[in-house]
Symmetry: C2
Subunit: 193 residues, 2 copies
C-alpha cells in the first residue's frame, strides 16, 4: 500500500466562556487550565496554514433544542450557551481568526447534524486533531464519530479537559483501545513542523 | 407538563459468537457472563410484548467497510464478524424470535447509518433500554446517540460488559453524568411488569 500523506486539521471543541470560566454553573473544572496548550496547538496550525475548526455548542433560549436529560436544568437554572450572550462566546485567547471555521452544534458530537464531515472531505483532511472540553461527552463522541467516518484521530491530552483527572484518564484509556492516538500537544506538534 | 407515558424498547448490542465466545480473538472478556441477565431482560420484554431490537455488527470479507483503526487486524488476523460465518451469528440463547428486529451496523453506534431511529419513532418508543457489549465503544456510542436523538436511555449494568470491571465502572460513571439511567436488570424490570 502506498504511503498515505497525513493531512491534518485542528478541531477545538466547546471552549466557550460558559463552559470554561470560573463562576459559570456549566463550568468544566479542568477547562481553563488547558487554554495555554490549546493556544499552542492553534498557533502551530496557524503557522503551518493547516485548517482550523472551532466547534461550539449553542441552544435556543426556550430550550427546544436542548438534550432531554439537560432540559430541566437549562430551563430552571443555567440557560447557558445561548447565542448573543457573553457566555456563549469562545474564550478570548482562542477566538477564531478570519479563515478559520466555526461549527455550530447542539449535540455532543461535532459531527452530528453539522457540516463538519462535508468540510473535512472537501479539504481532503484525513487526520483530525481534537482538543477542548470535555472528555466524557463532546470530545469522546466527536472522536468516535471521527473514527467511524474514516478519519485518523489524535486527542491532545493536555489540551483537553474533564471534571477530574480520573475521568480524563479513563476516557484516554478507552479511546486508545479503539486506536485513537492520545498525545501531549508539544509531542504531537513535532509532526507538523 | 403532562405526565409522559414511558414506551420502552429493548436494544441488545453485538451479542455475537465472535464477540462473546471463549477462544475468539475478538472476544470481550465480560460478555459471556452477561448472557443470563440479557436473557432475563429479553424474556420480560417478550412477555410484555414490548419491541425488541438486536443490533449486530457485520463486515465485508475484503475489509472495505471496517473502521480504519481496525483494518490491519481484520485483514491480517481475525476476519471476524463476516456474515455467513458461525462467529457472526447471535449467541444461541439470545437468538431473535419472529417479530423481533435485527439491526445491522458496521460502526460502533447502533444509530449510525441504520434504520434504528426511524423504527423507534414509528413504534413511538421514547425510552431505549440498552444491554450487550461492550461498554466503552458500541454501548457508549449508542447510548450517547440515543440521548442526542431525544430518547431516554437506561443501561442494564449486569447485562452489559467490558474487558474489565474498571472500564465498565468508569463508563457507567460518565453515562450517569449525562443523565443516563444505569440500573441492574432485575431492578429495572420491576418498572415494566
Amino acid at each position: 500500500m502506498a504511503k498515505i500523506v497525513k493531512r491534518y486539521a485542528l478541531l477545538i471543541v466547546d471552549m466557550q466562556n460558559d463552559l470554561v470560566m470560573p463562576g459559570s454553573p456549566l463550568r468544566v473544572i479542568g477547562a481553563k487550565a488547558t487554554v495555554p496548550a490549546i493556544l499552542k496547538a492553534l498557533t502551530a496550525f496557524r503557522n503551518c496554514k493547516l485548517p482550523i475548526f472551532h466547534a461550539v455548542r449553542e441552544y435556543r433560549p426556550d430550550g427546544s433544542d436542548v438534550e432531554i436529560t439537560k432540559l430541566t436544568n437549562f430551563i430552571e437554572k443555567n440557560k447557558g450557551l445561548v447565542p448573543g450572550t457573553k457566555g456563549c462566546e469562545i474564550v478570548g485567547e482562542l477566538r477564531p481568526l478570519p479563515g478559520e471555521y466555526k461549527i455550530i452544534k447542539n449535540r455532543f458530537s461535532a459531527f452530528m447534524n453539522t457540516e463538519l464531515d462535508f468540510m473535512l472531505r472537501r479539504l481532503e483532511v484525513n487526520h483530525v486533531v481534537v482538543c477542548g472540553t470535555q472528555y466524557p461527552s463532546c470530545i469522546r463522541t466527536t472522536v468516535f464519530d471521527g473514527i467511524s467516518y474514516g478519519y485518523h484521530v489524535t486527542v491532545l491530552t493536555d489540551a483537553t479537559s474533564a471534571k477530574s483527572q480520573e475521568i480524563a484518564e479513563a476516557n484516554i484509556k478507552d479511546m486508545r483501545d479503539v486506536g485513537v492516538e492520545c498525545s501531549e500537544t508539544s509531542e504531537f506538534l513535532k509532526k507538523i513542523k
